[in-house]
């Protein structure tokens, strides 16, 4: 009985158009263990979890729960089978109370009326497990809770469903040190009670603290499986373990590095505090940090979308103040958004129209749609050719292109305006491993041609490999700055603030 794994996934493979997400992955969890699932972003961890929870169907392979084969077609079925997944984006209803969220879709009814007292009692019981220091009232509206408490509510939901397996996807991303401790002791309690936890994380410290076993996923395959938690270096090596030399372009040379193009002094707004940094021509500056550290808030501030409310910004030595993206674009700043489909692409329009859109919006009122002050259709095609956008025809609708080619097409859009600063947000998200190298080389070419490239990425290895200089952000501030050659550990310590804490303790 105890030999039967709670979860067994055998030979799972899954492909999406143009991307092989998982190949022949086997993964199993015993009752009452914490199983750490680690790997770089895009390695295939979340695809594996989505197959487990029935969001995706595998192309091949089987999922067994308690030794019985299961074919979940809907997340609800896996929930009933005892599997709860806590995603990074919460599925809470902000306008409802904590108790109402806990009982979403399964409210107890007595005499045709919802039994509010039973809901409150059960909610109070479950929340009581978090200890007195993290007191949450059942009738609080979720929107009034801070992010850490919302995280606890998500976990409470899984507990009250008496799930056999709880999957936590980077649960500490938004938590501070003491909140993490609460979570860890909660996980210990759950494990002692026989619950299985699948714990997805980047932080080696948490693996060492919590896990019984570790599975490392890399490029859609199981790279290693450890029945005892090895030292962090071993895990990181299996996680990264690729030939970095040809994958990333060579770094910029001192001759290529030019003047300061953009400088920020004491920048701040609701999300940012006391930001000081510079971007230089010919240089790729990487921005690392945890989720919510303020990196995209910084990009939005530079771009004028959520402007700075304090501090000064200089562009080519002149003070500037952008309150709308149009101001920033006119001054020579371009942003390549992380969520290309939602924020960057006109999917139903042609590749050419996608390329022309910004140039057209800055054309004079009477300019033709073919030609304007910045470029014309022929010039746009040349830019696409230069970017090596692979499309059956540039008249083709944007949505048929692969992620990598869509990204190149947006780069071409900006190049038509000859920008001084280009901000890439998660430049390779959703892009095939092989196409990633093309994007890195493209960024280097842009820097060589004189642009300042700002690269915001959650993929630490790619920042280490592609950037000339690395700025680390934490809690809306600049936490540190590192030259090329910094180690993954340096960056992580700075991003999590652990070095800081160790220093205080000493």
């Amino acid at each position: 009985m105890s030999d039967t794994p709670v979860i067994e996934m055998r030979n799972i493979s899954k492909s999406f158009p143009g991307v092989r997400a998982l190949h022949d992955v086997s993964f199993s969890c015993a009752r009452g263990e914490v199983h750490a699932l680690v790997g770089e972003n895009g390695a295939g961890k979340s695809t594996l979890i989505k197959i487990l929870s029935g969001v995706y169907n595998p192309d091949s392979g089987t999922v067994l729960i308690d030794g019985k084969e299961q074919h979940f077609r809907h997340p609800q079925e896996s929930l009933l089978a005892g599997i709860s997944v806590i995603y990074q984006e919460f599925s809470l209803l902000p306008e409802r109370t904590v108790a109402q969220n806990l009982f979403l879709g399964r409210e107890p009814v007595r005499g045709g009326v919802i039994d509010g007292r039973a809901m409150e009692d059960e909610t109070r019981r479950v929340l009581g497990l978090f200890g007195a220091r993290h007191h949450i009232e059942p009738d609080t509206t979720v929107a009034d809770l801070d992010v850490a408490s919302q995280q606890l509510v998500e976990i409470a939901k899984a507990i009250s469903l008496s799930s056999k397996v709880i999957v936590m996807d980077e649960p500490t991303a938004a938590l501070n040190e003491s909140e993490c401790e609460v979570l860890f002791s909660l996980i210990d309690q759950l494990r002692a009670g026989g619950t299985t936890i699948i714990y997805i994380t980047h932080r080696m410290r948490e693996v060492t603290r919590l896990a019984n076993r570790v599975t490392v996923i890399k490029d859609g395959e199981v790279a290693a499986r450890f029945d005892h938690v090895p030292d962090p270096e071993t895990i990181v090596r299996t996680m990264v373990g690729r030939d970095i030399a040809d994958y990333y372009p060579p770094p910029g040379t001192p001759q290529e590095r030019g003047n300061v193009v953009l400088g920020v002094r004491g920048g701040g707004n609701a999300f940012l505090r006391n930001i000081d940094f510079e971007l230089r021509a010919g240089e790729i500056t990487g921005f690392a940090g945890l989720q919510g550290a303020g990196r995209s808030a910084l990009a939005m501030a530079l771009f004028g979308a959520v402007p700075f409310t304090s501090g000064t910004v200089t562009l080519d030595g002149k003070g500037v103040r952008f309150t709308h993206p149009r101001d920033a674009i006119r001054a020579g700043i371009g942003v390549l958004p992380g969520d290309r489909k939602a924020e960057g692409l006109l999917l139903m329009q042609s590749v050419r129209d996608n390329g022309m859109v910004t140039a057209r919006s800055f054309a004079s009122f009477l300019a033709s749609h073919r030609t304007n002050a910045h470029t014309d259709l022929a010039g746009m095609d040349k830019l696409f050719d230069r970017m090596e956008v692979r499309a059956p025809s540039y008249e083709q609708e944007m949505r048929v292109l692969s992620g990598g080619n869509q990204q190149k097409a947006i780069v071409a859009r900006w190049l038509a305006l000859k920008p001084k600063v280009l901000i890439f947000i998660e430049p390779t998200r959703g892009i095939d491993v092989n196409a990633k190298a093309g994007i890195y080389h493209l960024m280097r070419d842009l820097a060589r041609s004189g642009a300042a490239v700002m690269m915001i990425s959650s993929d630490l290895p790619e920042i280490l490999g592609a950037a000339d200089r690395i700025v680390v952000m934490r809690e809306g501030r600049i936490a540190g700055e590192f030259p090329r050659g910094a180690t993954e550990a340096d960056i992580m310590l700075s991003a999590t603030g652990e070095k800081h804490l160790a220093g205080e303790a000493a």
């Binding site: 997340p75 609800q76 929930l79 984006e89 919460f90 599925s91 809470l92 209803l93 902000p94 306008e95 409802r96 109402q100 979403l104 879709g105 399964r106 409210e107 009814v109 045709g112 009326v113 919802i114 509010g116 929107a143 009034d144 801070d146 992010v147 919302q150 938004a174 609701a270 999300f271 989720q291 919510g292 550290a293 303020g294 990196r295 995209s296 808030a297 939005m300 959520v306 958004p337 992380g338 969520d339 939602a342 924020e343 947000i425 998660e426 998200r429 915001i456 959650s458 809690e475 809306g476």
Partner: protein
Amino acid sequence: MTDTTLPAPRRSGFRFDRYASGFLLLASIVLYVGLVVVSGQTKYLSVDNLVSILGRSITLGITAIGQTFAILVASIDLSVASLISASAVVTSVVMNGEPSMMLPAILAVLALGAVVGLINGLVISKLEVNPLIATLGMSLIIQGVLSAFYNNFAGKVPVEFQIFAYGSVGIVPYSLIFMFVLAGLAWFVLRFTRFGSDIYSVGGNKDAARNAGIKTSGVIIGAHVVCSLCAAIAGLYLASRLRSGAPWIGAEGVYDLESIAVVVIGGTILAGGRGGIWGTMAGVIIFSLIDSIFNVIGMDAFVKQVVRGIIIVAAVAFYAVRSKRPVS
């Protein structure tokens, strides 16, 4: 930016937007009383006058109760005005002055409402037609069919049925009591039943609701049936008050847009999932008070429309600014 989310600034304290409709109501009452006192027309402060102010908004009130359900579930219903006309015509034609036909007429009207709501809900949830378009289409269909058969007041409502609109306990009309009982019932359903809870969940986040095991299409259909039933009842009332039904009375009262307006003024957000019945009732009363204020100062009816328009837009802008916060 889904991956690198903006950190949410901590908020705390009193959330003004939640009680805004109450403040708005208070403000219009103060304004009304102030104007009456300043202009020395204190006769407008009597209980009689208060009841008559409220009595003018029964049709709108009943319709808006239903519209609240549709908007809470993140839908909307533009077919209520046509349905009111159709219900009023059915009422007066079926009754045709005969007291014995009152019950069959009421049942026929309720059945009509239920069918219209069912079709609206099915088209919106199963065929996934945008609710604006689905109910606009329904509105045109009802109006077209109705106009094909009738072009003026048709049939007659018996005196016994006119009691619905004209009868009263003391000075309080039955219809006013009926509206508040209906509102109380709606509040109970939304606040205490599984159906009500599901309406808020589906309106708040349809995907989360579905993943939690809620049959979202059933909830949307249910909300539309409630909405259309309320419009049908409003038609019954209007027939009783006008003593007959005509195919233009719903459109003339602009009950489709006005019901949406009072729901929104009452703090229910068009995106769904937040709001409630008492806000809507406050919205209805605010609209009645505005009418009365203009009567007191004797201003042009066209100016009244302009002021109503400004109030709707200002209220929604106010809510939008107040509830603007990053989604974490």
